[in-house]
Symmetry: C2
Subunit: 339 residues, 2 copies
């Protein structure tokens, strides 16, 4: 592949001159510039990004660490990030961490080796200390879906507690009094925060959500089915189902429908996330909107901006907390008379 040297030779000028026209440098004669550009086309010249990164001491790339690309949730996240990167002419380096300590660590370290000037990482497995350490190493380091107080200005996150409370409040306002919940068995913050919000809100209304009314499983459709099956098997009496996310809600609905239950006439089901699926399934899911794409865009902007300003120039905002809001569709309605 042609190098800057080849071009210089062919044009009968020095390396410096060619380099200047490549970077739109100011001090080059018009005719020289035109001629060199011509030659570059002819020879199919392409600047070597690695060499450039080496000499300029900065790699204008955005590293991204996600949990699981196959999950629509993360796909949307990646989509939002890639969109702003593309628009700013920044290449994205993508890795998957799959919520395992070694994998997440490995992914971040590889990104570090590439000297990405900005990074967005979704980490549930790594501890605060480790993350804080990474953050101190790269100015453009941003966490998504996680809040760590010491680096609050690099966290773009959702208030899961408030989300849980909102779910509970909505159902209470419709007269529901008997609840069950299908939740994720992963030991990460999100499920427990949502649950905490739910329990607190119910308690305010004088209602207890006993542990026996909560079934944990994998946070996907199948997990939702299994969890609901267990709940049904235990013979619980309830008029509303709180689900950790939309996928589990869809699974739970499937199971209920298979048992001849009418949704929402007999039982209401409420999801969380508002992914595509919530509009596809029948009945359409009433859920909480998790503004993933918006948050992804924000994370990318913050990361890139921090990278550019080397971490100085604290943005106007000091916190990037998002609050989920209710999306009313078809799966929730007034409480039926309790059985």
């Amino acid at each position: 592949m042609a190098t800057i040297k080849d071009i210089a030779q062919a044009a009968g000028v020095s390396l410096a001159t060619v380099s200047r026209v490549i970077n739109n440098g100011p001090k080059v004669g018009d005719k020289t510039r035109a001629r060199i550009k011509e030659i570059m086309k002819e020879m199919g010249y392409r600047p070597n990004a690695n060499a450039r990164a080496l000499v300029t001491q900065r790699n204008p790339s955005l590293g991204v660490v996600l949990a699981e690309l196959a999950d629509p949730f993360f796909a949307t996240l990646a989509y939002g990030i890639e969109k702003v990167a593309r628009q700013k002419d920044i290449q994205v380096l993508l890795s998957s961490g799959s919520i395992q300590v070694e994998t997440e660590l490995k992914a971040i370290e590889t990104l570090l080796e590439h000297r990405c000037e900005a990074m967005i990482v979704h980490s549930k497995a790594l501890d605060d200390e480790t993350l804080i350490d990474f953050a101190s190493q790269v100015p453009g380091f941003v966490l998504i879906n996680r809040y760590i107080e010491q680096i609050a200005d690099r966290c773009v996150w959702l208030d899961n507690y408030s989300g849980g409370a909102t779910m509970a409040r909505h159902l209470l306002s419709l007269g529901h009094k008997k609840f069950v919940m299908v939740s994720s068995h992963y030991q990460i913050d999100d499920p427990s925060e949502r649950l905490r919000g739910i329990k607190d809100e119910l308690k305010n209304a004088g209602i207890e959500l006993p542990d026996s009314a909560i079934e944990y499983s994998t946070p996907d459709q199948e997990g939702g089915e299994i969890a609901m099956q267990n709940l049904l098997a235990k013979g619980h009496d309830f008029t509303a189902v709180l689900s950790y996310n939309d996928a589990m809600a869809a699974g739970a609905m499937s199971m209920l429908l298979d048992h001849g239950v009418e949704i929402p006439q007999q039982i209401s089901v409420m999801g969380f996330d508002d992914v595509l699926l919530s509009r596809y399934c029948r009945p359409k899911l009433t859920t909480l909107r998790y503004p993933i794409e918006m948050m992804a865009v924000k994370a990318a902007e913050v990361a890139l901006n921090r990278a550019r300003t080397n971490g100085k120039n604290k943005s106007l905002e000091d916190t990037f907390k998002y609050t989920p809001t209710i999306v009313k569709r078809e799966s929730v309605t007034h409480a039926a008379d309790s059985k």
Copy 2:
């Protein structure tokens, strides 16, 4: 960030020696090696991937160009690719082409600037010639979901024609005789190939699929709804709906259900792709399995292998054609008596 030089200094050895222990070079004393490793830990040394790529003249990375990450189809594609890359310790550079000439071109060129040794591109906008030219420039260049005869050994693709024929054959075998189709209005090969397969197969059975029985729209749920609405408005008489993909099928089903049609008792609906959605929607979609993940894995393996062998070592297989197969679920059954 500490460099190899700093390590050498701290250890009181030469650059060469440090470089050797980094690359597990053979000729280094055990104690020296241990000591250097120790120091590297202490100083938090990380090799600079850019410098390495520059001097070794190869960047062990996999560039990927997709159409639209937010689409579960492409998310799955990305997932499969990233999985094998991670397993082989290869960093993925991801871009989105959004089916536009300039964007796809830009994405590929940026990857070229990074000197990725392997590339997987999904391109519908670029013409054969352009793609063939790129392929000639990088040995690890592979196309996915596209077939170009001159570079057949770099194409991992689905036989859409056969898929269309299979759909038609299945429905015919269940006694259906009156069809409509909801298809994508994008001017790319896939829809037209599927349609060609369908028409040919129907023709064999003496059935014509008139243009008026085909509605084109965006290949998503909303497009499916619109297309079906138009078909309904035109007063077509049919017992089976052929859909370009699952999303449109789901939309079409929505619309039919809203009109009080029973699926599949009155009308059968058949999708294509077998994405997650086909299992979530109700009734569950009978569809054609598009082995995206398997194909993505294959593409990654071929690309990486070609890169490693510099395009020599033609693999045992000379073609990477995949054939979609039927997945029977709930949305298709025997033809009802025609109205």
